[in-house]
Symmetry: C2
Subunit: 225 residues, 2 copies
């Protein structure tokens, strides 16, 4: 599949790299490709400069958000939740219309210190905001409940665990479920329409505290039933 | 141990019944024991009248919130989150001082229809409200992330799953962890201080949607790591 991954951070790279490895044609979208490639220092999250990663992934293109989205059949939003709507506007509503839009972002608010809180929750969600802002896109919320490595290599955990899909479009959820299975996810739970993204986004507070308590983010939820 | 279980609903009965079965001395607390026993009709949640349950559990006493709490070494709050603070005030601050107070309640707000939202979240929690209102109590938040049957019989699931404890008092968490193990919980994760109750209370939205998606509330989270 021809896939655009919007976002050059840890999550974007993990998803882009693994999808390319699985045989998909992947273009990473960024605000300004030239300045993304010109950076040589690690970012605020200590993620190494994009150019060094790109050198190890010669098959993965880099383009503006708009160019990446325009050429893609499926678009992955791997941006910071705080800039998600802005980035998708830059990608262009016309380039999202009719496409499956996989939303991995979380509405984390770092303004009150650590751990972050959520800037939207309970009666609304980032997934719904994305769907409302881009009504022609077929938004599927998923993978926002585990770390970047486990998103794409869940089989590195000692046993199978669960991921969730939320969205209004059954076909889009089916496409995304297929991709999740390619990544190695064996238990994909369809929670229902996009409003169910409230549930998975509100998992973040316990996820963040588990990270603290366990001393690692290499864990995932399994729904035992 | 001498235990008071505040609340005569499904959760209170499940916890009281099982703790008595395990050999503890249990008194259930209610607003007005006479009127609780006089009721013959099922309640709004279709739970059968208390008297019929009490008839099957002759070893379990029924008393006012205050009398139950006064005689107990450990108090379990198994009330509806919306009335939790009122019930604990009726139990009496002086009867909670220095005691382990196990808070199982969730801050569910049913005023906006189904599924319920949360009346406190993200920057505060019901667990913290309880601890702030009763600073002498040693509050431990736990068991609010699974249904009443599984709280007390987690081994009815096909494999082990996880529960959490949050609280400021390490000794109190240790006592509660011991009780949880008696109930059959094999993976008790200490999330940290009482503010971490924000995390487990915010699990409710995804729990409620999983109930809908799976068609059963007989499931629990296992933290695979």
């Amino acid at each position: 599949m021809n896939i655009a991954v919007l976002g050059t951070g840890m999550v974007g790279r993990a998803v882009a790299g693994r999808l390319a490895e699985l045989g998909h044609t992947v273009t990473v979208g960024t605000r300004d490709p030239r300045s993304t490639l010109a950076r040589t220092e690690p970012d605020a999250m200590s993620t190494p400069a994009y150019a060094s990663w790109a050198g190890q992934h010669p098959g993965i293109g880099l383009a503006t958000y708009a160019d990446a989205a325009q050429g893609a059949e499926l678009v992955v939003n791997a941006t910071n939740g705080a800039v998600t709507l802005d980035v998708l506007r830059l990608a262009g509503e016309q380039h999202l219309d009719g496409k499956v839009l996989v939303d991995i972002a979380n509405p984390l608010d770092f303004s009150n210190g650590a751990p972050p809180t959520l800037f939207v929750k309970d009666t609304d969600s980032l997934g719904e905001q994305v769907q409302r802002t881009f009504p022609g896109a077929r938004v599927v919320k998923t993978l926002n409940t585990l770390n970047a490595d486990l998103m794409v290599r869940p089989d590195t955990l000692p046993e199978g665990s669960s991921v969730f899909v939320s969205g209004d479009d059954a076909d889009a959820k089916s496409v995304v479920t297929g991709l999740l299975k390619e990544l190695g996810h064996t238990d994909v739970i369809d929670l229902g329409d996009i409003t169910t993204a409230r549930g998975t986004e509100m998992l973040l507070p316990v996820w963040l505290r588990l990270w603290g308590a366990l001393g690692t983010s290499s864990f995932n939820v399994k729904i035992v039933r």
